[in-house]
Symmetry: C2
Subunit: 154 residues, 2 copies
């Protein structure tokens, strides 16, 4: 999946990502970077709204896992189960979220559990930056669930 | 501050709240309820996007503290420092966030610390519901900071 394809997928399926004008800067196997501009994501202090920051974090972490799953031809339902945000510094311009697996998250075990049980959990994180400075940390636990195969009588 | 005034304040100052079409259902001293419709807050599964849910949670908790501060004539900068979301069930329609102080949060101690030091922290939470069912819990720690008084030489 190319950055442009992912951007269009997000904008088409998650209207909030379009309202935030989320862009896809980078997709690698181990790392995915989303970004968003200032104007649609402001708060009343003229800095980036905490809700926008948390949303870019969950989108980046979700997209990292989603693109890795697609690459392995796993088409499942992937949803966030719990998440946390640490706001470390205000952001006052374009901001990015760089997603990776969380420390200790094991992709191979995640895939083995998914194939064995049709359901598995994994933790991912996203570090937020603005103007070259680290500004926040998102961590999230996601659940992949095999989608029921719909069979139609012919 | 009336529900309508708060809604306009949010829409004017936090563009994401307008994109989500956030409404203000109730403002009481101890409880504040925000809501949002489905269409602008969908994900690719046809349910409410986790980022929208987390954003309604942080907005409701922030707005509860903000309106209480305004009521006590305290005009400060109020920002979220850390937050967590537990997603308990998918939401598939209009959703609400009902904010209260977190268990153990003491408003009088918060105000005393603010007046003594010009800075204080307090925890608030927001329970999310959709179609009459509880669906998620947001918890957040907020910091109130006295704003520097700007004096201009005449």
């Amino acid at each position: 999946m190319s950055p442009n394809e992912l951007k269009h997928f997000l904008h088409r399926n998650v209207p909030l990502s379009q309202a935030m004008r989320v862009g896809v800067d980078l997709i690698e196997a181990e790392r995915l970077v989303l970004s968003a501009p200032k104007a649609p994501n402001l708060n009343q202090h003229g800095t980036i709204f905490g809700g926008s920051a948390a949303t870019l974090g969950v989108l980046a972490a979700w997209a990292l896992l989603h693109t890795r799953l697609i690459q392995q031809a796993v088409h499942c339902k992937l949803v966030v189960q719990r998440s946390a945000m640490e706001y470390e510094a205000p952001m006052s311009g374009v901001f990015t979220a760089t997603a990776t697996l969380a420390a200790g998250a094991d992709w191979d075990m995640f895939m083995a559990a998914y194939h064995a049980h049709g359901k598995a959990r994994i933790q991912a994180q996203a570090v937020l930056h603005s103007a070259g400075q680290r500004a926040a940390l998102f961590t999230g636990e996601f659940v992949a669930v095999r989608e029921a195969v719909v069979t139609t009588a012919t």
